[in-house]
Each structure stands twice: as C-alpha cells, then as structure tokens.
Symmetry: C2
Subunit: 146 residues, 2 copies
DNA sequence: ATACAGTCTACAGCGACTGTAGGGGCAAGT
DNA sequence: ACTTGCCCCTACAGTCGCTGTAGACTGTAT
C-alpha cells in the first residue's frame, strides 16, 4: 500500500503524466496527497479510477459524461438507469456518426471510381467536389469529433 | 457581375461570415478587394471556390488537404493523380474511423444488453467500463476528429 | 559527487472554428 | 435630415481534450 508517484500511476493506468495533471486540473481526479517536497502521491484506487476514465474515453464518452459516471460510481446504491441512459446516448452518437461516415465512404468511393485519370481539368474527383448534386445531402451534417 | 458583400457570399455559398473571414486569415480564400469604406467585395468565382471548400469539408478533408486541392485546381493541365491520391487517403481515413466506430458500437451494445437494471454497484455497464478484458483492444486507438 | 531521470508550475499551441465587445457603414422609412 | 435596424469591421477569447515547452527542483544510481 505504499504510495506511487505520478509516473508510476501513469504507466500503471497507461495515461500520460501530463494528461493526469490535466485531469486533476479539470476536477476529474480529486486532489492527491503530496510528499514533503510537493510530489503527488497516489494509491491503487487512483489506478482504477484512471483506468476507468481511459476506457470511457476510448469508448468516446465526453469528459462531462465521464464526470457523471464517476459521480454515480461513488453512490453504488442508486438505481443504475442513469448509467444506462448515458451509455445509450453514447451508443446513439456512435450510430449517428457511423451513418455519416458510411455516406462519406460511398461518396468518396463513387468519386474515385469515376475518375479515369488524365488532367486535373477533367478529373471526376474534382468535379464531384465541385458539384453537390450527387450528394446524400442529409448526411452532410457537421462532422464533430467522436 | 457586380461584387457582393461578405454576407451575400455567405448565403450564396452557405458558409458563415465568420468562417469566411477565418478562411481568409489562414490563406484559403486570398485577399478580396475592398470597398472605399473597407468592406470585402466578392464575385461569383468566390462563391464557387467557397462552395468547393464547404463540400470538401463536408467530406471530411482537412484544411491542409483542401489547400492542396485548391492549388491543383488552379493548374488544370497537370495530371490528376495527385488529386486522386488525396481522395484515396481520405477514403482510407474514413474507413479506418468506420472500423473503430463499429467496434465501439459492438462494445457499447454488449455492455447495455448485459445490464439487467438494479443498483449502480451491480451495473454491467459500469463493470464493463472498469474491465478492459472484453475489449477489442486493437480498436481502442485514439479517436481523432473526422 | 555527479549524472540523469523524474517531478514541479505556468503557459502556449493544436484544429477548425464560434462567440463577444466595441465600433463604423448603408439603405429604407418618416 | 434623421432615425431605425441590419450589415460590416477588427481584435481577441473560448471551445475540446489534450500536448509541448521552459526553467527550476527532487530522487536515485553509480
Ligand atoms: Zn482524377
Ligand atoms: Zn457530398
Ligand atoms: Zn446498468
Ligand atoms: Zn473497451
């Protein structure tokens, strides 16, 4: 149960040192104990918490959603429907993005297939970017990070 | 052929006024003429160029790629293979992101299906986020914006 | 004792915008 | 001529989730 420094936590949880400090700054990791010289000290509970955050990020959850999930984790007697709602929202986001990207894939493929080479002036890829008429226009919503 | 103000260009090309000024600031739109009082003045060629940029953005191309495409557009006698290479790279990006998101979808679905309700302490969604062992780990690369 | 790796704070930068503050301009209606 | 109200201008801060940098200090191994 001896405390570990931020570097050890970093390799245990596979989250970069700078990212851990960033998470602390946005209130995701609480304020750790400090050694006499001011170094942050962590325990195994922090490894778990940080691994949880990492996996949630890998699943595409926003920091806000993760804050909510961590809040719920500390109240294990509450009904889990709040958790499931967050996960379902995330699934819906992922599926929406999938639909958008599938449309992009079709459009890009079509553009590339139509091009028979030659000069830029006659390139079908260029023409297709210039011309919106072949779009699945409703799929051209803003692509946000996910 | 009378010039239009930035607002007219904005509605003609469906790109926000602030975004047009931003594109100018990063060198994507050249430096427009100005009226005596300093207002930007555009012509129909700018509508086309800006629409091209918008469609390329909607297709997920980065600003750097779009700069390259615009550069190529002004040399219509070159071979179009450079264009096609950019488009193929973009398609590859889209397909990579699709694979990642499909893995996320499967993982989220499985988590949600496994949850039988009850308290947070026993929630399978929480458990699955805590436990990486059921992951398609290789699909957990960083999700970058696209 | 010295070298080297790790840690500290504070701040700037990324991409692709969006929003705000505080001003000036322009056409139509009265 | 004057007012109303929208349009335009610049310059800068904020968004998200980090990442990188600078410069100083600490901890450990040889
Ligand atoms: Zn081509
Ligand atoms: Zn399209
Ligand atoms: Zn549940
Ligand atoms: Zn996973």
């Amino acid at each position: 149960m001896k405390p570990m420094t931020i570097g050890r936590l970093s390799s245990a949880a596979k989250v970069k040192v700078t990212t851990i400090r960033y998470y602390e700054s946005i209130g995701l990791m609480g304020t750790p104990d400090r050694s006499a010289s001011g170094q942050r000290l962590y325990g195994s509970v922090d490894v778990e918490r940080l691994s949880f955050v990492r996996h949630a990020r890998e699943l595409g959850f926003s920091m806000d959603a993760i804050k909510d999930l961590i809040g719920l984790q500390t109240e294990p007697d509450q009904d889990c429907s709040a958790v499931d709602t967050i996960a379902q929202k995330q699934l819906a986001e992922v599926q929406k993005r999938l639909a958008q990207l599938e449309a992009l894939e079709r459009e890009l493929k079509r553009m590339i297939e139509n091009c028979r080479g030659g000069k830029v002036g006659g390139c079908q890829v260029m023409a297709a970017i210039n011309d919106h008429s072949e779009c699945e226009t409703d799929k051209h919503e803003r692509l946000k990070p996910l």
